[in-house]
Symmetry: D3
Subunit: 287 residues, 6 copies
């Protein structure tokens, strides 16, 4: 039928899986969120709203139309069973990685990064993580649970060990977490000031990038479960993404913690969409 | 990729065009809306929210899974040019009708019904219209424009003439419109009290059903441009749809005027979804 | 300048003060509201939103354009000084009454009715009050204050005495208030069932009508400070207004307690606008 | 310090545990919610908002101040581990029941009723359940999980067996669920029409009442995860509670599925508060 | 009537047309908006909300009370007919310009600037445009329409030609638009860095200023149809307006694209009001 | 009952009055608010939302758990009687000061600072005030009332006299107010640039700090009655609080003008909570 279309994919992600080196995956999971849930709706909301974007980025001077990008859709997950959900995510990404793709993930809560990192660590034993967040996410456990959005980076450390995790923009955590970080991760509090030097250090290593969007100030990103005033502004985040172009081996990335119902203006969703566009261009342009 | 799905269609509309006698079409148009625009977003919102529904209707005791239903997607329309938009809609529906389908349309504003009615009138010169609405929609023109949501039924009368249009639930209009209706349409004010007798009268005639959802009371349907307190309740509308099963020749139907941004609770969208489910079963079950 | 207009009046209220027997007055006061303030914004919101209405009422089969109606605007009031505010209101209405007008007031909180009733009581010592409300408003005092929205009808009784106040739709109050009402006012709990017989009784007496819109169910009127589920529906209220046409001497009326910010859908404001239209036609058509 | 108070309890629940036969318990759990989470916030929201209520009910002509009522506060639960959460709830209620209390619970999602019912079934092997809901909640499993809000009544049946569960107001479910109900529960679809006869039948049996507030129409209760138009109105629910006074042995009750963030008007919370008041008076007045 | 006022004008705009060199005009038009409509409500919302402002600007150290300012009200426009609407705007402004006024316009969508620019170009053939925006607005056409908010500056170029249009803050557009701009307009991407030098260049030329408020970051201005993170902050905009005082011949200005319903906090409207105050002082103080 | 808690206090304020040098007091008063009321709800909202915070501040490297902090609860106040309310506040704080406590107050509107300042001035005749605000608050009277949120600092000057009041961040007021400030207070417009030098000057004097949160930009703090774009950002406010650690004699502080209903995202409340945490640590750590 001419003149009719169903726009179910993210803008610019209009190619087939087989021919696309970069694939978008939604993970609508928020089962361990402690404060205000709702990140499970992020993938469903970003796709239609992405059509308010252009495919061209004036920041990177790159256009999504010049690359093969595939939107796989969302992973179907059970509710109320965290272990089973993480296992499903793990298997899906093991396959994607085996197929030689660079996955870009839309969460969901931050815990979804854990099985992705685990799947990558099997292929890249020397994997490093660049982590943008307002929160340390380094708890040994949270209210008795070891698998939680508040402990996701601690669990990633269980897999990767010391000197592999580089955290930026952190402005909230317990004293215990900040102290623990001193000997186990690199932690830049409040801002991204030292990002450039870390990027130089990681230039030729396999790097996975995990962006908890609450690293942004809640003025530009109110749509999240635990808003933390004092975050970085949008242009700082975009500039960081431009810096990432100096990394020679980015294996994948995720963008998590959009909770769209807390921002009825739609600004948070628009912000998330733009970060996804920039990250898709970053993952595409060079490799 | 197993475990992954992109749910871009309305729930239960999962078949191909060729094998489906009933097809769903979205028309995201609100170019002539006078008071509060936003109906263009209705199709994009009802599809993901439809997954809060079951495919089974306890009202009709029918299940969408027992029928072939196809969701065509949305018609792509230009903004700011009403004539061109109506022409595009007309051509699309002429083809759908020619293909022997019974189309179910999600608006958009009420004016989108006009080209559909026009297309049907070419095939069924004796077409009758059952019209549920809070407003008469019988203006000769509105602020100088003859093509407007406020004059859509008057324009349908230009095509069909007297004794073809049956209006129910009307509770707003100018005195001139109410007076004009006395000699040109059948108009039941405020409620659906006389619906049963009209249905008997139209039993074997070709009937098109147009439901402006603002016929419902704004308590259950606040998400619309011109809320009019004093409307019918949801069960009354469902009972009317059950009555429609006595009609032997329903050619198509539309459900218009959901403006989702005015109801952030999502209730209006849930209401619209349920009406679409019932109407799809009505169009499917018998013919 | 042709083609340009400033629509600062309520729809249909487009005549001068001198020639208008019915005048609209806004009183943006909510100084004693205990739970959720905001009724002070009602007058500013109903005027522009009234243009979503028609001037013709299909309920009363009357048109505002057939009557002389004047919108005086809002009374300017100090904040934080209840006594001074009430005094200003009193003086304004004493003048309006002296000029032979029938005032229709938009509140503001319910306490604004008190100085209006007081002003009328000087001219009509046998004044009766018909009072629609969810709440008794009969407290002797409220948190130590004798002038309060929760005691407005008790204060009116101080002026008028027994057998003058007729309350309908009441569904909230202390046990003390309900007990006190038994010997001092007529109180119909929950609904308007006995309205018709009271109207017959008051047919030739001077009657002031005060409608606290929270008498309506919060499903149709969520925009109020103290929502009380279980209220009457809109059509019941409209039917009551039709009943009022049997009263031969309505001296004035008010419509209070719209707090528009609590209902971002705009339905509460639309409901208030329609009640004002019907009340303006009631005050106009006969006398 | 005089003149200062911290009002952390529900209005009227101001007594100690030891002297109170009726106790209020909050369960902020929504870990298995499939569509829109947020019921975990209900207990935190109803307490401060309850101060918009009176302690006196004109419906039952009873006053909370005449009874000893204790607000225990909220149960602390882990996130992301359903089994552990249900176990914690079970133990807490086993103690409350052992102490001879009649607990009134505020959810949380509907699954929280399961461990309460289980705890009661140990003491009352002939326990019956009166269940108000929009949904059947009778799934064998939901997306592979047997413990879910969508299967809570099915799991209760696993404990209690046939002829013990009486469902009212049901208007959504799969065809399989409606068919299963025919031989295992009593199911009144759409409304409460047969409630009176069932109450007579259960008059002297131990009865637990579980009210999923989505049995109400979303016009008066939009603040819930899966709004289902076509529900009962508030006065019908209040009348049902009055009918419950004919039951001689109500052991406890719960009120679940308020999700306050979806209704920023506060009406849903006000509705929930009033239901809690009426239920607390029901549990108190006779036994 | 003393003590009563109808405040239908923007604060400080309280003089007559004949004596006011600066006049405020509202244009409630959003007929071509592609993403989220609603700018038509901006004029109706800014007037009452302007009373939250002072008339004195501490930025410019000027007070609106020291100047003659007239609020003309809103232009009445048909819906659904873009050509007719633009024609009406053109005629109105031709008259205002002929009367020697400096008009300050509140949109409405950005397309309303086109007929104003056209009217000025007849009097000032060497007219220059300073354009603040997030978007290039340079499309040859948009979905087949040449008259659209997305092509308004391209259409202005059709009238004015090369070297007349100076664009600032641009951060969104197609690659084609950015490329086209290189040879036809001056385009400063992302910020206002080069504004000062352009102002020197235009010091003695007739300049029209068009401010699409989405040049601001959506953190401070979420109430717009297409929010684009990464914009300038409010103080940067105010500083730019201070810079404008160096221009000797500003013929008029507009402030467009406020869509108030997308920001229920009212911050976007407050921001728009303050920009209007500063612009009215800029237009008044010198000439 | 184990596993159950009622969290009615602000996070970290879990000690008794007698052993706590720093006490938190809520004052839910907004009786004189001129534009948009609602600050009375702030204390009720910040307490439960504070549990989204950690007790540890990475800014000050201090933890609330290391100090004795007591949350007294809210002062009970009458509605509609400003004088009586201020008197009640005065008496309460006179007692708190007499007991040797350093009170930290959550408003309520800004007028609540007046009786606190008055109570302190009796003990410290040389008291100085550091005042953060968007508004001068220096009106002689406001709409005829001398006691008003718009004149609170002028009234404080009546008590304290010249050279005692230091105002920062001011960006709104009448010309008269700004002129008056030149000879009676220290007023730093727009920002906090000169704060450091003033702090040195006040190092050993008794200082009361009053923070009207609207000093913050409305991008991060939209939940206030009169949003004023152009404010300071959150990190600037935090840096100022760090500067305050150089003051040797801070007697108390308040944080006022959060109006939570205007920001349904919860960001304003989260911001207020974090300011309260930092201020409680400031008041605790040294003295």
């Amino acid at each position: 039928m001419h003149n009719i279309s169903t726009t179910s994919s993210f803008i610019g992600f209009d190619q087939e899986y087989d021919t696309s080196p970069v694939v978008l995956v939604g993970i609508p999971f928020d089962g361990t969120t402690s404060f205000r849930p709702g990140t499970r709706f992020a993938p469903a909301v970003v796709r239609p709203d992405s059509y308010g974007l252009e495919t061209y980025s004036p920041y990177l001077d790159l256009d999504m139309e010049d690359y093969n990008l595939c939107d796989l859709g969302d992973i179907e997950l059970p509710f109320g069973n965290t272990t089973k959900a993480l296992n499903t995510i793990y298997k899906t990404f093991a396959q994607i990685i085996k197929d030689g793709k660079r996955p870009l993930t839309i969460g969901g809560e931050h815990l979804v990064s854990l099985p992705i990192i685990e799947a990558f660590s099997k292929i890249y034993p020397d994997l490093c993580i660049i982590h943008f967040d307002a929160h340390t996410d380094l708890r040994e456990d949270y209210m008795g649970e070891s698998l939680s959005h508040a402990s996701v980076i601690r669990r990633a450390w269980d897999i990767l060990g010391d000197n592999r995790i580089f955290q930026f923009g952190i402005r909230s955590g317990t004293k215990v977490e900040f102290d623990w970080a001193k000997s186990h991760t690199y932690l830049q509090p409040f801002n991204l000031d030292s990002l450039e030097e870390i990027i130089i250090q990681l230039q030729n290593r396999p790097v996975y990038i995990t962006i908890d969007l609450d690293v942004l100030d809640p003025s530009i990103f109110p749509g999240t479960g635990t808003p933390e005033p004092g975050g970085i502004d949008f242009n700082t985040l975009i500039f960081a993404i431009k810096q990432f172009t100096k990394l020679n081996h980015i294996v994948g990335a995720d963008v998590v913690e959009l909770s769209p119902h807390y921002d009825i203006s739609g600004v948070s969703t628009a912000t998330c969409c733009k970060v996804i566009r920039e990250m898709s261009l970053l993952l595409s342009h060079k490799q």
